[in-house]
Amino acid sequence: MSYAIQAEGLVKRFGETTALAGIDLTVPTGTVLGLLGPNGAGKTTAVRVLATLLSPDEGRATVGGYDVVEQGHQVRQLIGLTGQYASVDETLTGTENLVLIARLLGIPRDRAKARARDLLQEFRLDDAANRAVKTYSGGMRRRLDLAASLVGNPRILFLDEPTTGLDPVARLDMWDLVRLLVADGVTVLLTTQYLDEADELADDLVVIDHGKVIATGSPDHLKAQVGAQSLVVRPARAEHLEVVMSVVRDLAQVEPEVQGERVTAAVSDPALVPAVVRRLDDEGVILDELTLRSASLDEVFLTLTGHRAEEPEGERDKEGVSA
């Protein structure tokens, strides 16, 4: 198997903060790797190192077989980058942005314009082609960002949180675009804070926290490991909490948690629900609520690390973007 991306022991520090504390990852050619983690986990820093925007303090990485430090120019000829911090110029129009990039890549003027036109049409931006990007909606903006990173037909694509802040329709739209690229054989490294996104798009997952890899594997493997779903049970009367706890503990084979008047437990088998209902009914417990919901990233993290994902702030500082 050939690898499009290989990284070994990547370390990056910003002053006191260690953004990457030794990251290993490999992405086989033509697959999608989901880099999953909360804000400030080091996802963006990892992408910036692999996209040659930052030099690692330790470790090494190759992209398309080229060393990201020694052969940055070669790497840049193979990659496309779309991310929170790799943006288009919002004072220019969609066409101008794409023509600019095509011209920078050495494509002659006529073909640059044709390429821009094709991409804008492909991404359903042809109506907005001659409008300044600052008038675009969030979804249009992301589509243009993605189009901009595809001008040079990259074989390896970095998508840094491609759907953060998008509405559900625009998100599904982005997912479809990514799938089409993958169908073309493009290797994708995708960072996300959403478990469902990683689940939808990625062949393999690497979960990072505090700059360290804390879990790897396929989405199914990972879900089985952490419990794909959460069972939430709230008895009508508080004195039944103990009974509910013991029933859930018995059937789910995990230690449930009590939050307020709710008992929650990570479960991987949906067939558990009817069993729990029957047992509680036998015990004469009346329920106010019984739900099975997908595990949030927070729960994945709780299971994997024993602590909750941090509050979504401070990534910029941690990633050393602001001066």
Binding site: R48, A51, T52, L53, Y66, Q71, H73, Q74, R76, Q77, L78, I79, G80, L81, G83, Q84, Y85, A86, S87, V88, D89, E90, T91, L92, T93, E96, L100, I101, A102, R103, L104, L105, G106, I107, R111, R115, D118, Q121, E122, F123, R124, A132, A148, S149, G152, N153, V169, L172, D173, W175, D176, L177, R179, L180, A183, D184, E200, S322, A323
Partner: protein
């Protein structure tokens, strides 16, 4: 593969790649130069979308000329036209300092908005984003100098030397602008946002340009201030420009101006490049 209602006008058969698939080891200087021109073009078409910017570096200098000529002119010299003969070269110099702020502001905007990262992820010369920005700024400089001269001539400014002198003054001011741009590049890299860059313009450039002999002759100032004003490169450059365009000594202020320009670039270019490496 799941599908959604979103229709996509796309096929998996992309057009053949436009980019040659052979991987090149480095950018040639010619390619770097072409990329510089492309990036300068980008900065200049921004003006088309934001005509206010054009107003900024067109109307502001015109207001300066009008204001100083008609408000101060009568008091400082005998008549506005006579004052223009003294002040015009200095006003051009002062305006040049303000226009250099666009380099820092634009660079800062690119960094904070993420455009800079996008550019750096492309296989282009490492220096092209910066040189493109500076080149575009030189075009803005040339435009505003020409504009100032036109307004000056309309108001009654007369060349005291020759067209060659005027051309030399133009080139000197452009060269100084090029070197001084490095100061604003540094400010642009270090500032947290574009507003802070503008703040630098007001709190540092404004007093420095006014602490000069641009508007009034040094002899009218208190004795303790005179050495400061004399040493100010704004004064020196204005004197050189005045010598080249109107009258007065040329050799000494010209030489000193060139020394200042080169010294500023020698100090601030490496500082800027280092700061840029650190920030991005």
């Amino acid at each position: 593969m799941t599908t959604t209602d979103v229709s996509l006008r796309t096929s998996s058969n992309r057009p053949a790649p436009d980019r040659p698939q052979d991987i090149k080891p480095r950018v040639t200087p010619v390619e770097g130069l072409r990329q510089t021109l492309t990036l300068a073009w980008r900065t200049l078409i921004q003006i088309r979308h934001n005509p206010w910017e054009l107003g900024d570096f067109s109307i502001q200098p015109i207001i300066f000329v009008l204001l100083f000529t008609y408000v101060f002119g009568g008091a400082i010299a005998d008549s506005p036209t006579e004052y223009l003969q003294y002040a015009m070269p200095g006003i051009i110099v002062m305006n040049m300092f303000f226009v250099t702020m666009y380099v820092g502001q634009g660079l800062n905007m690119d960094i904070t908005k993420g455009v800079f990262d996008r550019l750096r992820s492309l296989p282009i010369a490492r220096w092209a984003p910066l040189s493109g920005r500076i080149l575009a700024d030189m075009v803005k400089q040339a435009w505003s100098i020409v504009l100032l001269l036109v307004v000056g001539f309309i108001l009654g400014f007369r060349l005291g030397t020759s067209v060659a002198g005027l051309a030399a003054a133009f080139l000197l001011i452009m060269f100084f602008a090029l070197c001084f741009s490095w100061v604003t590049v540094l400010v642009g890299v270090l500032a947290a946002d574009p507003e802070k860059v503008q703040l630098f313009g007001f709190t540092v450039l404004f007093p420095v340009t006014f602490l000069s002999a641009v508007f009034v002759p040094i002899e009218t100032m208190p004795g303790w201030l005179q050495p400061v004003v004399k040493a100010n490169p704004v004064t020196i450059l204005s004197d050189a420009a005045r010598g080249l365009m109107v009258e007065g000594p040329v050799a000494r202020p010209l030489l000193l101006s060139l020394i200042w320009a080169v010294a500023i670039a020698a100090v601030f270019a490496p500082l800027s490049v280092r700061a840029l490496r650190r920030r991005v």
